[in-house]
Symmetry: C2
Subunit: 381 residues, 2 copies
Amino acid sequence: MEVESRYVAVRHHVEGLPSEDDFEVKAARVRWWPESGEVLVRNLYLSVDPYQLNRMKRRSASHLAVDGIVPGERIDAYGAGEVVASACEEYKEGDVVAGVLGWEDYTLFRPSPGVLMSKLAASDDLPLSHHLSALGERRRRRRRAPRHARMQFLLICLSVSVAPGGDRWIEHVAGTSGMTAYAGLYEVGRPEAGEKVFVSAASGSVGSLVGQFAKLAGCYVVGCAGTNAKVDLLKNKLGFDDAFNYKDEPDMKSALKRYFPDGIDIYFDNVGGETLEAALANMNTYGRVALCGVISEYTDAGHRAVPDLLEVIYKRITIRGFFAWDFLTRFAEFTGVISDWIRQGKVQVIEDISDGLESVPSAFAALFSGDNIGKKMVKLA
Amino acid sequence: MEVESRYVAVRHHVEGLPSEDDFEVKAARVRWWPESGEVLVRNLYLSVDPYQLNRMKRRSASHLAVDGIVPGERIDAYGAGEVVASACEEYKEGDVVAGVLGWEDYTLFRPSPGVLMSKLAASDDLPLSHHLSALGERRRRRRRAPRHARMQFLLICLSVSVAPGGDRWIEHVAGTSGMTAYAGLYEVGRPEAGEKVFVSAASGSVGSLVGQFAKLAGCYVVGCAGTNAKVDLLKNKLGFDDAFNYKDEPDMKSALKRYFPDGIDIYFDNVGGETLEAALANMNTYGRVALCGVISEYTDAGHRAVPDLLEVIYKRITIRGFFAWDFLTRFAEFTGVISDWIRQGKVQVIEDISDGLESVPSAFAALFSGDNIGKKMVKLA
């Protein structure tokens, strides 16, 4: 069986703000045959995430944890799809899977401990797209780690443990925006009822969930975003106590002083830069910063936060970088809790879905111009 | 009874590098009488610490936790002395005390829950000066906190708890270099045997103890300091695995790469600035930064570290500011452990003692020119 399968590639390493022109859609054919041992998936939804930009750079701290992307080659990405052919017991034609697929029409994979793929239950009552946004699949597999633990994974991995024999293994797990929001807020932020939480990029895929989770934890929550429509969404649909358009605030420090007269206890940081500096200046003693993303630095490495470390010391602040999958032992709990919240209407899942593989480049570029609201993904025809 | 008691004051707020000229020794008389309820202490040793510079500034994040110093007025400081007159049951003439005294010949205090003072046991076999350096006194007292919890304390304070009646109280405790080193290394750094520890300002009062404690925890320890004599001390007397003079290293990042080919797991930061940036660049996944001091920023607020937050995220690094007294529940253990280590010769206490109250200004200024080795203090005649 052979199918036409276009894929999206970068033409070259991308160092600054990405544009559609940095990408091309390339034609290819994918061949599957019964003896291949492989599974052929027709992709239905593909995730479009800012962190991929770091993989597209020639050099990036990102490459310490996630492989760089090679110009001209296919790009792996989280997604959901339908099995159209399988040479493997575990998967049947018609099964719906979520896991590491690619920015392409069809993905071929060989089930192995190193491959992240979950079969969704037929009884699953939530929209398939939610498996790329609020929900997350869990799959724990073990394989011997390569020497320097640089691995081919994405929203995946990386709790290194020592196996009984003394060998080092790496446990893989897939995470999504929901898992990132949950782990970052609850495990890094550790909110208590009544605490004050500030979320930047609050209408984004992670931020929109963090704010709602923090409200469910009994916190006072203020978010910032870059358009008035986003601010409206935060205040009127997502239940944030308050929200503001950071573009209307020439002085972020005094803006935060207005929105947090009693100080900030937890800052969920998606942007870095001056916003982090201003949050530290307004933070209370024993404040926590959950450092999830520094999107202001993704497109401009020279644009960095210059935190006042005296404040960090005298206020005994903790700044912690994290990945969702550092908390994999709690993933089963996360998925259950988040699913229930969605079913009960306590959490709104905001998704921003573009149509067709050819829209991946514009969808990706839009992430950095602030055009998306909620989780950005592409639905294939 | 009335005694002549000179005191050291600042002539004005001190904003940059301090010099002797910023200080003056002023004459005063202190009067004690039996009905005063007060205790008169002749000061024997006075602690000289870099953090006092932040108190001397007109504005500083320091003032969030510790009162600023008023030009012309006496300056409270940790010290040890001998009771020469007492109107209080608890203290007798001849008792030796350690606690919050002042940069002055005699200190008068009225025992109260708000005053930090410990009577040393007559059986104490360690040098009195050690109570200002490696050891620490513990005194837990309760008093009603002022409204905004800004308090007149130094190496003191600040675990806010809610008393049974719902009132807020503040528990005071005194900390010293030993407590800071112990708490920062063990509670913030959480070393495991075999981990790699980097200490800046490693020949200083805190750094010299951190390195020795880390060796006792089974770690590989490298320190940096600013003179070859200090480097010798670290390597040949204090048992560091290696040490280097940072002034000989134009590129700190590559220097650390040489000294830590397997990366840094814990960075005990006393200096901030480029050293912190370089340590982050050389840090391993799940690295911890115990942020104890940023002396490079004390004298120049414009001189700030610009950490690469992408590294902090992708390496899941935790940066945490701390005070020793955040860990007051473990102080009794700390004091016991450190005393034993000193008696057993496992820990060397390095002290740099100047003579006479009039040497306080030069001793203080020397902290910022890198002239001191170990704990800086002044012994009064």
